[in-house]
């Protein structure tokens, strides 16, 4: 056909552009990898039994201070338990909660948000009202109430986080899906004869996915904090198993004699939550072809 031979060659320079991984992604990802390895292999890596008490080695300072014992890198608490080993075992709880609660929250919230934002109509009406009502409950009180009903334990903590935080995803994803739904490529899918559900999954979802990923990493950070808060007030798992929140609560009582019992779990918690949020930001940049 006459028109099939282009009279000029179009430049295609994008093929040569490369982009390197950002420092932000390296640092946050690196810290989380360290944490995951420490948590997974805690029984082999931890220098001591995290539950082993020894009053002769109580309140040992970290390794660089005078009076430190070799082998107790980050010192010991008032019962002589190794702080480093307890942080490593505590990471197991924190990461399990972050992973399971974060993912489940994202799945439930994003699904409802996507349906409300794309299908609109009565589905939106029902889901949006539910979100409004849900968000009127004070979250921490809601969590404590839930755990009081279900009894403390890992499962209760995870369920509490899911039940409280799905609204965060639902609201943000709904707004995003609405904005995407108004774009012409959705009309174009309709012109092509695409079914509504198919359009939602193949056209809208990929455009909302970066938002979901960022929220998911933020949510994992939040889940770690909520778990710490609940174990701080003794509503997480049983008290003798080490959790970061529990360690912070114990360290608080002896902060003047042994600051390291408080500071190290706190710093770990801080770095972890920060890493989760920075990981989200970094991943968003990577995922977005427009920013690439």
């Amino acid at each position: 056909m006459p028109s099939s031979t282009p009279g000029f060659a179009m430049l295609d320079a994008r093929a040569m552009v490369k982009r390197r991984l950002g420092l932000r992604l390296w640092l946050s990802g690196g810290w989380l990898v360290v944490l995951v390895v420490a948590a997974t292999f805690a029984p082999w890596l931890a220098p001591h039994n995290p539950l082993e008490q020894d009053l002769f080695t109580s309140r040992l300072p970290p390794f660089w201070m005078a009076g430190a014992e070799p082998g107790y890198w980050l010192g010991t608490d008032s019962l002589g338990r190794d702080v480093l080993s307890r942080i490593m075992y505590g990471a197991r709880i924190a990461l399990v909660v972050a992973l399971i609660a974060g993912t489940a929250t994202a799945l439930i919230g994003a699904t409802l948000g996507l349906i409300a934002g794309y299908f609109r109509g009565w589905a939106d009406l029902v889901i949006s009202r539910l979100v409004d009502i849900w968000m009127a409950f004070p979250p921490v009180l809601f969590a404590i109430l839930l755990i009081a009903v279900m009894g403390p334990g890992l499962v209760s903590v995870i369920v509490a986080i899911i039940v409280i935080d799905w609204t965060r995803f639902a609201r943000v994803v709904r707004a995003e899906a609405m904005a995407q739904g108004a774009m012409d490529y959705v009309a174009s899918a309709q012109v092509a004869g695409q079914k509504r559900l198919g359009t939602m999954l193949t056209e809208i979802l990929p455009n909302v996915l970066p938002t979901i990923v960022v929220l998911l990493t933020l949510e994992m950070g939040i889940a770690v904090i909520v778990e710490a808060i609940l174990s701080f007030v003794n509503l997480s798992i049983s008290t003798d198993f080490p959790t970061w929140g529990g360690m912070i609560a114990e360290g608080r009582t002896s902060v003047h004699q042994a600051w390291w019992v408080l500071v190290f779990p706190l710093a770990t918690l801080f770095l972890t939550v920060l890493s989760f949020s920075q990981l989200g930001e970094g991943l968003k940049d990577r995922f977005d072809p427009v920013l690439r």
Partner: protein, 270 residues
């Protein structure tokens, strides 16, 4: 020539969400007031009108993105006025649309290849990869663009992708809704040339919506002038440009800058 589209006394009203009361349903605003016309096979129809004249709305009715509230729309003898989405699906291949804003009409997360292939897959075409390549050839884009994302292309290239997606379906009718209004003048000329060639090569029927009469004049055999949801003039383009009948058409023609302002429209070269 047979009629591809026959539209009889078609009305369309949309919900007026601005004036929606707190409870109860929104009042309706009439956009189109009883349009009757037909589009012949192989015809290139220009639809012009000012902002809010209903030209895009009319186009969206033709490809059934909107449902008329009254009247009848026949496509190739088949009543598509109130067909639901399931019943429309087999027909959808036959009338395609090119959108005004190619940035918004191409999914930013999909590659050009996947954008062109998606409608083909839905309609069970064979040799999809070959057809995508052919479509890219048709619109004068390199085949390597299959792996590009829309934001990596220029405006004119994006609009070519939109055209490739439409013609890959081998439709009988294409609606082009203001497809050159977002492009610079040289891309406009190229895209218009391309469209004219495609219409001739593929034997397409085309409805070309524009507010730019000089574009319409170059491309279209017949012109329909819309004003506030009514047809004020619908004639062969030569006759219309030589002697506009309706006052509104004369107003539109008068608004176009001419190369030689002392000569009337009919006497202009080119």
């Amino acid at each position: 020539m047979t009629d591809l589209y026959t539209v009889t006394d078609m009305h369309l009203s949309l919900a007026d969400m601005v004036n929606k009361p707190l409870f109860g349903s929104a009042p309706r605003i009439d956009i189109l007031h009883g349009l009757s016309f037909s589009i012949k096979r192989g015809e290139v129809l220009g639809i012009v009108g000012g902002s809010g004249s209903g030209k895009s709305t009319l186009g969206r009715v033709l490809v059934r993105l909107l449902e008329p509230s009254r009247g009848q729309v026949l496509f190739d003898g088949q009543d598509i006025t109130h067909l639901n989405e399931d019943a429309l699906r087999p027909l959808r291949r036959r009338f395609q649309m090119i959108f005004q804003d190619p940035m918004s009409s191409l999914n930013p997360r999909r590659t050009v290849g996947s954008i062109i292939a998606a409608p083909l897959k839905l309609h069970g075409f064979d040799r999809i990869s070959v057809r995508v390549d052919q479509a890219l050839d048709h619109v004068g884009l390199p085949r390597s663009f299959r792996t590009r994302y829309p934001h990596e292309l220029s405006g004119g290239q994006r609009q070519r992708v939109g055209i490739a997606r439409a013609i890959a379906m081998e439709p009988e009718f294409i609606l082009a809704d203001e497809i050159v209004s977002g492009l610079d003048v040289s891309s406009q000329a190229q895209v218009l040339k391309l469209l004219a060639d495609l219409v001739a090569d593929l034997g397409l029927t085309l409805a070309f919506i524009s507010h730019d009469l000089s574009v319409i004049r170059r491309l279209c055999g017949t012109v329909m002038v819309l004003y506030q949801g009514r047809i004020v003039e619908h004639r062969a383009s030569d006759a219309l440009f030589a002697a506009p009948e309706a006052a509104y058409t004369r107003e539109l023609l008068g608004a176009i800058p001419l190369p030689d302002p002392d000569q009337p429209w009919g006497a202009q070269a080119g």
